[in-house]
Symmetry: C2
Subunit: 329 residues, 2 copies
């Protein structure tokens, strides 16, 4: 039986994908990244370029939340998955699955937000589909995207000694979703970080970037573990270097949540050759979406997996079972 944890990023989802999808599908790559790579996008070599191609469905609830909405999310998430494989996004598709009897004004609000974000990212929408169905309680959006890359940046590219950078404060998207669902005893200013990162990322592509990932479902813990495992290196991070706002940090403590496992929708994790680390950090910080970027650690052959140095010793950061917040994206 499929549970929400099968769709929460993390271990259960990856097992489901491996046991069901990767096992049963035979044609799963063209000539580049394919399904078995479990990367953020697939790629196809065409002449001297690489076409990147990715898809995500958005089932977030509520659809309007502090800092964004399902429309902004649907554009940003797909743009970001293209960007982190080193591609410049060329175009998106937009598929609406609408519950029968749905309010047309809500759709209009969503479409206006999609338009705004598409202009912010400078990415056009060139194909779409509309289905209306019963048996559904809230709108679902799928966006897919195509881009072009000069060079494909793979999750498996992290090298011993690389610096690990996070582009800003973590755990904001997931927490904003959670807090907007129920009445809590405290008021917060926590907003989703949802944003298209393509402009910021295009600005560092001439540096020696080894790997990139957007730490969405499963958060930073999931992204770092995937990078380490696929690259056969260990990653050490320093707790006091991880950018996080005081408010997010204390709300997580109150709610008993680990911010490392909470989804981000406007952040990127970068492994960069150490000679380019400072330059990369500087360029990220020049961009409004990267102003809180930090070098949080390094890749090493000395251990496997992900270790975090805390004030009181080392902690193993394992794959999360899944994102602790369901329907987060």
């Amino acid at each position: 039986m499929i549970t929400k944890m099968h769709g929460a990023g993390g271990r259960l989802m990856i097992e489901f994908i491996k046991n069901q999808i990767l096992k049963n599908i035979e044609l799963k790559k063209v000539n580049g990244l394919g399904l078995d790579d479990l990367d953020d996008a697939g790629t196809i070599k065409l002449d001297d370029k690489h076409i990147a191609f990715t898809t995500d469905s958005y089932t977030v609830k509520p659809i309007f939340f502090p800092g964004g909405d399902i429309g902004r999310l649907a554009v940003s998430g797909t743009v970001n998955d293209l960007s982190v494989v080193g591609a410049k996004p060329l175009a998106l598709s937009l598929a609406f699955i609408i519950p029968e009897g749905y309010d047309e004004e809500k759709i209009e609000r969503i479409i206006k937000s999609i338009n705004k974000t598409s202009k912010e990212a400078e990415v056009a929408i060139i194909a779409g589909d509309t289905k209306v169905t019963d048996g559904l309680d809230e709108i679902i959006i799928n966006t897919s995207g195509v881009g072009v890359a000069e060079k494909v940046i793979k999750d498996s590219g992290v090298k011993d000694g690389d610096a690990i950078i996070v582009s800003g404060n973590i755990a904001e998207h997931g927490l904003a979703i959670l807090l907007s669902r129920e009445e809590f005893e405290f008021e917060t200013n926590i907003k989703s970080d949802v944003a298209p990162l393509n402009k910021m990322i295009e600005n560092i592509l001439d540096l020696e970037i080894s790997a990139m990932k957007d730490p969405t479902r499963g958060g930073l813990a999931e992204a770092l573990n995937e990078l380490a495992e696929k690259s056969s290196v260990g990653i050490t991070i320093f707790e006091d270097k991880i950018p996080i706002s005081d408010e997010v940090s204390s709300v997580c403590e109150i709610l008993g949540l680990d911010p490392l496992t909470i989804a981000n929708e406007g952040k990127v994790v970068i492994a960069v050759d150490k000679k380019d680390a400072e330059e990369c950090l500087e360029r990220l910080r020049e961009h409004p979406l990267g102003k809180n970027a930090e070098i949080i650690g390094y890749a090493t052959k000395e251990h496997k997996g992900v270790l975090m140095e805390t004030g009181i010793g080392k902690r193993i950061i394992d794959y999360p079972i899944g994102d602790p917040i369901p329907r987060v994206c």
Copy 2:
């Protein structure tokens, strides 16, 4: 309020798309077919080639039906939308939206069918996404696709004098879905025609093809009206030339359905220069999926819209309001 008819192909859906989506989205083409063209796929010129890009979500109910299932449909539908703009499909994405508590065996059956159809079409799946959600009663699949075209074939390309060809018997998919839903007083052998048409279509691309369309939601009536309107020509068809099985014809009569408005998922409508019409017909008939192909009419400047010559005079074939069968794809 959004009703099922807004998602049924046809007039209401096109109005919704025009009034909501085309009006509010500003970046809607790159350099080729874009949203305003309302064609089967968008296209992007890249060097001397055209990248084609399309998306469809599949909400069909029941998910297993005579002649196919949601998996075969999800591969075929997207492959066909790429093929009818003249592209060779390169790769698909596969996004599952799974109801919480869903039966894993059903998913396995669907994935095996996806695999079989992907091999039949020789198109790889290189990206995917999995979401699990409450508030949903049946699995939904989105597939998007990318392809490459030497030359883009547009809906707007029909020329005065072109022959209009349909590649085989109409109305089978929609009717098979309808008949599998309820107990009817008669037993039939009607099966969905769902199939990937890329191989058959690639075989005619060297001919002077003016336009192509897969007559899905809204059926042949919708496809012919779109071709005629976008090309600013009229289309005349002959009722006795339209390929349809006796069984489909009599079931439609019993149920009071117009077969021209019923969805197909393994057929293509082709406008071809009259000098190549016979050759095109012959090549289609050589392919198992085209064995019942017929020239059903011609394009003309003598009238607007779509006219059908019947034994007792001419009938105007208008845009259907929508497909008479909901959740057909």
